[in-house]
């Protein structure tokens, strides 16, 4: 598999398909980051796409191809910040209410409609708790579970160490466990 650096160089040389591969490689992490910032699935998808296109337009300015991921995540952060400042964040809650509901209701094999509904309800509750975590913890959870990534991948996207990712994931899961068990009591 080609490295990010190789693909960036090819894309900078005019090979658009190389940038498409970078898009496929990074879109889940960019989407996770946007989701963590704006807390709305639908808005995050729009902002992630905007990020990926801005990345293409600005690719010629990237001097260190090996740092493509952190550079793209920086663009995502700015795109989200611009959106949050624009006042459009008022509509987030409408989006947030429908997050993940439709697809979570599909009954699995051997599962009754009631069981499917209960499972969907559990997932909604869990995702709502994830959304309410403080941002550093929300970020690591979303980055980690949106994609098949390692601590190093998450660390590169956030500009922190792998040990910090480990610590934040530990803390985030502990908070989720505590909140969910508190709701069940």
């Amino acid at each position: 598999m080609s490295s990010d650096s190789d693909l960036v160089r090819l894309a900078q040389g005019g090979q658009l398909a190389a940038y498409e591969e970078l898009v496929r490689r990074w879109s889940a992490r960019v989407l996770a980051l946007c989701h963590a910032k704006v807390r709305s699935v639908h808005t995050a998808e729009e902002l992630a796409q905007e990020t990926l296109l801005r990345g293409l337009r600005a690719l010629a300015t990237l001097e260190e191809p090996a740092k493509f991921g952190p550079w793209l995540c920086g663009i995502a952060s700015r795109v989200c910040l611009d959106w949050l400042k624009s006042g459009q964040a008022r509509q987030v809650s409408l989006d947030a209410m429908s997050d993940g509901q439709a697809d979570a209701w599909v009954a699995q094999a051997g599962e009754s409609p009631d069981e499917a509904a209960a499972r969907a309800d559990d997932h909604r509750r869990l995702l709502a708790e994830v959304a309410s975590l403080p941002e550093p913890y929300r970020e690591v959870i979303l980055l980690y579970y949106y994609d098949d990534v390692t601590y190093r991948d998450v660390a590169a996207a956030l500009g922190v160490s792998a040990a910090t990712v480990n610590a934040r994931l530990t803390q985030a899961r502990a908070m989720l466990r505590e909140r969910l068990s508190g709701m069940q009591r």
Binding site: L31, A48, R90, L127, Y146, L169, R173
Partner: protein, 451 residues
């Protein structure tokens, strides 16, 4: 090894990140510590739950990747290749052709999201356009008249007479017709543009905006003909054997067989095998045509029509929540539950004495965050005294001030006694609104006297 140090290692091991040289020490500790063993089991459970809960998000990420890749091709204005067989390089360029039409560059992409192997290399038809693809959430398929193969049409591309336009399973679009009217197509919809004022719906869902002073539009669907009378907003749902017409605003004439009837605003009819059938009168145009929102959103979330539709949708949600949920349950939603309640309060100002309005205002006053300050100031002019009382209470909670008029006064005294306080709130907001970027900017002027 201390238990608090073990947690990071447990997580690292669950994630396949624990260095081999630390595993033995961790196992030794777990063998002795039942508390940490329980923590390990609990960790596995929450990890499994998260993985399941995020399955749909991962699928969404995969879809985004494909959409973004297609957008990359489109934004470059250059053709892309269909991916060659796996044995070849993934990003070898294909043999696509760029078509140049008079005065503008139109990239003819060979990428078809739902039929990836169908490769065509057409030259664009040199016909006078009768319509233009105004916005689209992705690539839309257009087939010009004659034997010219279908091609994928990027936004702003012109569309000629007798062209078939088809959206895929995830694409929606808006088409600007030459005479100033507009069509919006839902996913999996196919229409043929016979003329700029004659549209044949082959299948799918369509929204028609017929602007005042423009020509009426004729829609052929389900064996009948619908003629919109401007100004009008119509929605058409075309199934294999039947079509359903919803007149959202304005009116339309429906002709099928020997029948010809006029359908007014808020009414709907079905056309089945060339006959007009009555359909249930009651329908909610905002809910029935919710798909239109995502087309409007392509023009930006501040699009006035979208804002109005979202407010109406939120007001419906607010009314439903107030009817179906206990007040405690609504309060537990916290600030996330406030948007539908505020929209409901705004939408029901003409019926100020509905009992639920007091409940809605009370919850908003207690749980709303500072982004709702402007909306609370707007509620100070509500005709319902209880709503004003709670709005003033909420403002005092969020800002620590009452502008010389406490909540009780807003409930019990006349507008003349409260007017100066209202003026102070408006001035305060003008001076402070930049501190609340998530809040609405402007507060509508009150009617005089508002209560």
């Amino acid at each position: 090894m201390r238990c608090e140090d073990v947690l990071d290692q447990l997580n690292a091991r669950a994630d396949g990140e624990l260095p081999a040289n630390e595993a033995a020490a961790l196992d030794a500790h777990l063998a002795e510590c039942s508390q940490c063993r329980a923590a390990a089991e609990s960790l596995q459970a929450i990890d499994a739950e998260l993985r399941t809960a995020f399955a749909s998000r991962r699928a969404a990420a995969a879809r985004l990747a494909e959409r973004a890749a297609a957008a990359v091709r489109a934004s470059a204005g250059a053709p892309a290749s269909i991916a060659p067989p796996a044995a070849e390089s993934r990003w070898a360029w294909g043999q696509a052709i760029v078509g140049l039409a008079a005065g503008f560059l139109l990239a003819v992409a060979l990428f078809r999201p739902w039929q990836p192997k169908s490769v065509v290399t057409p030259t664009l038809p040199q016909r006078e356009p009768i319509a233009r693809l105004a916005v689209a959430s992705g690539w839309v398929e257009v087939q010009a008249a004659g034997d010219i193969p279908a091609f994928m049409c990027p936004p702003s591309a012109p569309i000629g007479r007798d062209s078939m336009v088809r959206t895929g399973p995830t694409e929606r679009c808006e088409i600007s017709l030459e005479d100033g009217n507009a069509l919006r197509l839902d996913c999996n919809t196919e229409v043929t543009l016979r003329e700029s004022e004659v549209v044949e719906v082959n299948h799918g869902r369509l929204w028609l905006t017929c602007e005042p002073g423009r020509k009426g539009i004729e829609i052929q669907s389900g064996g009948g003909t619908i003629v919109a009378k401007p100004p009008a907003h119509l929605a058409v749902d075309c199934q294999p054997q039947a079509a359903r017409l919803m007149v959202v605003d304005g009116a339309a004439n429906v002709q099928a067989g020997q029948e010809s009837i006029e359908v007014g605003p808020g009414k709907q009819v079905r056309i089945v095998q060339g006959k007009v059938e009555e359909a249930p009168v009651s329908f909610d145009p905002v809910l029935e045509t919710a798909w239109v929102n995502s087309v409007l959103a392509l023009r930006g979330s501040e699009h006035p029509e979208l804002v109005e539709r979202v407010d109406r949708l939120l007001a419906n949600v607010g009314a439903a929540k107030l009817s179906l949920l206990y007040e405690d349950e609504l309060r537990r939603l916290g600030d996330d539950g406030v948007p539908p309640l505020v929209a409901y309060l705004a939408a029901t100002r003409d019926t100020p004495n509905v009992a639920q309005r007091g409940t809605a205002a009370r919850i908003v006053a207690d749980v709303a965050q500072s982004r709702w300050i402007a909306d609370l100031i707007a509620l100070l002019t509500d005709a319902n005294a209880e709503v004003r009382f709670h709005a003033a209470r909420g403002l005092e909670r969020l800002t620590g001030r009452n502008q010389g008029c406490d909540a009780q006064k807003w409930q019990s005294e006349s507008w003349a006694s409260c007017e100066s306080a209202h003026e102070k709130w408006l001035n305060w907001w003008a001076a402070n609104r930049d501190r609340y970027p998530a809040a609405r900017r402007d507060i509508p002027a009150p009617t005089s006297p508002p209560f």
